[in-house]
Subunit: 440 residues, 2 copies
């Protein structure tokens, strides 16, 4: 009889591995050593194991932590500042003026609040685009959450780095500063094809190639963006990026709401990844991305929340629910975007979209230990016929009790272990008071 | 100096009255005597008041309890039993077979679980259509939640009452049994125009007129229903009901997904009320009700969850979020269905839709004391610029801490005072085991 010993055993739950066979294990266990998963199996296979710590899932669900494929974490500072407005009024009269007063500290505290909210709702990895991204990386490191972060690059002066030349220098500094960090990956993040000249876009693409890093861009978010691109370049935004030879497997194309069949063929041909943010696209009345078509073509699609100014929360469980339902009604087909497909978009496919598919997104030996436990012993989760269905259609973020990232327990029984949440809420409330005073 | 005394003061929160002026009071108080609200105002106006009990809202939001305009409470028993299926497969192979085995006790425990879930997510009043509705009324009475309940009537034999003749007798018995109950209102509830012959519909209408009770029907839920009606009667389902002279202010038309302009004109002319269930309509791929048009015409629209087999939870906060966003993207207009409009649909307009607008749905002296407290001191609700915006776009049902119905505290600090929730979950799990065994 072999006796194994390890650091943590997460035991006594239904394990959704999200592996390539969609393996589910009742009465399952995940064994963690240091930062990695070393074994997954049935409880009886682990009867002889010893562990420094046994975490009891109490009959709930054990699954990979969720991956938020696109957000602007620090926009928590603007949550609910301006809603129900035309897009240009919202941007020009509310969001841009508020953003022009940002600094490192505001971005840091806003990001820390977002990290708290994400951990509390089951997210263990997020991809961020914003200003002062060194602050976001710092906040994620403090919160001990996995993150892909990149400074937004565009042709007009940035409140952070000033002219674009310095934006590239800032990005290269981020790459150097964070290159050995176990949790932080730097990405190159040009804002959009319409706010970035071709030179900027090509240079961003080269930089991402040089370091083999993700390149993240907003693209084809609205009809007007696409028709302007047609007018200006005779090409769709995706066609324009293809023309610049920027489409690649490292590219994460965020939104992709308005796509032609040719656009979809291009995304497929170059193995471009897509981030889908249905709630933001709905709230801003942008449109509905043809995700079922993308999935049918085999394009990798992750799910994101976008920033909390256009959502207004960062709860991926609610985003999954909306994604599943929105595409059903949009295609008049109740079988599209079934629960398991949507779950994949928030786990293994989300991880692949960020270039982290080998590290996270499923519970398999050798992967980083990024996992969550969901308490299903609740009125709104009773009875349970099908765990995947519950996760998409009935669970809310606050049903997550415990979160482990990179082998470390960052939340246990809803208590955050890495963040002084009372202080962070106070800090962000102070920032909000300043924002209010600027607007009145 | 006058000294007032009362039973309960709910104090120290932002009060959203949802009255006709949309009055909001910071640092507000609601005074309750027996089952009624007797005063609403600022804290300083109440400095001399005495109360048997003071409930501290701790700076959160105090608002009317939410009204669920249409559900099938006992379908909690089938939550997640069958998802992502074509409508007819879902109904014929899963839901109808499961329903054929229902009895009084199953409906009772399913309804009690639904009442628990609804109270835990801020609902204080619901309108139900199902079988064995005496059990639903009994469960609501035990849970001390306000309810409008009616036995579903159709032309084929019911697992409860058998032939339709007995369905009317059953309904009349319900009316007699519950007529003096402070919480329960009986409604007359023919299923649909396509499962009810004209005689049944006319008789249901007369019965509702005789007792001045709501009449509740599913109507125009899908394209196929409307085209079948056109084929059979040369009329839309709404047109057909108009032809039968059934349209009236007491009629609650549930779904109304597929409407012509003439249908909308008829609903307006006869002051018919509409119940809108966007999540169910999305999940079953039925379509999107033209709610912004209905509201523009002044039609009263309440919001509902539908049953938890097609949602799969009963959380009206999530339903509000979806309603607000869905109509924005559907009309390409981010200003439609603003937060306050959606809040009204779940409070005062929902109450009006059920014929209870004089009793509940707003916080005004003379109304029944049906109110909830929302804890806003949470990461995902920080900062707070606008309470209405938070309620629709960021709050989840579990942010409700306290619920008062008809002057009685039914939940305090998330603890249910009227329901033994462990027992009810166990009972429904037992029912689910039986359902599973029937399907395997």
């Amino acid at each position: 009889m072999t006796m194994n010993s390890t650091d943590i055993l997460v035991s006594n739950g239904t394990v959704l591995t999200m592996d390539s066979k969609d393996t589910q294990l009742r009465n399952g266990v995940v064994a963690i050593e240091k930062d990695k998963i070393i074994a997954v199996g049935h409880m009886d296979e682990f009867s002889t194991w010893k562990a420094s710590r046994i975490i009891d899932a109490r009959g709930g669900i054990i699954m990979p932590g969720l991956v938020n494929a696109h957000t602007h974490a620090s926009m928590t500072c603007f949550r609910g500042l301006a809603d129900d407005l035309p897009l240009m009024t919202w941007l020009n009269e509310h969001i841009f003026p508020a953003e022009s007063k940002l600094d490192y500290n505001k971005v840091y505290y806003g990001a820390l609040l977002a990290c708290a909210e994400m951990i509390l709702s089951g997210t263990t990895c997020f991809c961020d685009m914003y200003l002062f991204e060194d602050a976001v990386a710092g906040a994620a490191k403090e919160a001990k959450i996995r993150a892909v972060v990149g400074e937004v690059l565009y042709d007009f002066p940035s409140p952070n780095y000033g002219p674009i030349e310095k934006g590239f220098a800032y990005t290269e500094n981020l790459i150097k500063k964070w290159k050995d960090d176990p949790l932080i990956t730097i990405a190159v993040e040009p804002h959009t094809p319409y706010l970035c000249a071709p030179d900027l876009l090509k240079r961003a693409s080269s930089l991402s190639e040089d370091y083999n890093l993700p390149i993240v861009i907003h693209v084809s978010e609205t009809e007007i963006e696409v028709s302007n691109s047609q007018d200006q370049h005779g090409l769709t935004p995706i066609g324009f990026l293809a023309d610049l030879q920027i489409l690649s497997p490292n590219l994460l194309a965020c939104h992709c709401v308005v796509l032609t069949d040719e656009d979809i063929a291009l995304l497929k041909r170059y193995d471009v990844k897509v981030a889908h943010m249905p709630e933001s696209n709905m709230k801003l009345a942008s449109g509905i991305s043809p995700v079922p078509k993308l999935l049918k073509e085999g394009v990798c699609v992750g799910l994101g929340t976008d920033g909390s100014a256009s959502n207004n929360n960062l709860d991926l469980f609610l985003e999954m629910d909306t994604a599943a339902k929105l595409h059903k009604v949009n295609t008049f087909d109740p079988t599209v975007m079934d629960a398991n497909t949507v779950l994949k978009m928030c786990t293994i496919e989300g991880a692949r979209a960020l270039g982290l598919g080998d590290l996270t997104g499923s519970l398999e030996p050798g992967k980083k230990a990024d996992l969550i436990i969901i308490d299903t012993h609740k009125p709104h989760l009773t009875p349970m016929y099908n765990p995947a269905s519950h996760l998409v259609y009935a669970v809310r973020g606050n049903d997550v009790t415990t979160s482990i990232i990179n082998g470390e327990v960052v939340m246990e029984d809803r208590k955050l272990m890495t963040i002084d949440i009372e202080k962070v809420m106070k800090d962000v409330n102070t920032i909000a008071e300043e924002i209010k005073s600027n607007f009145t």
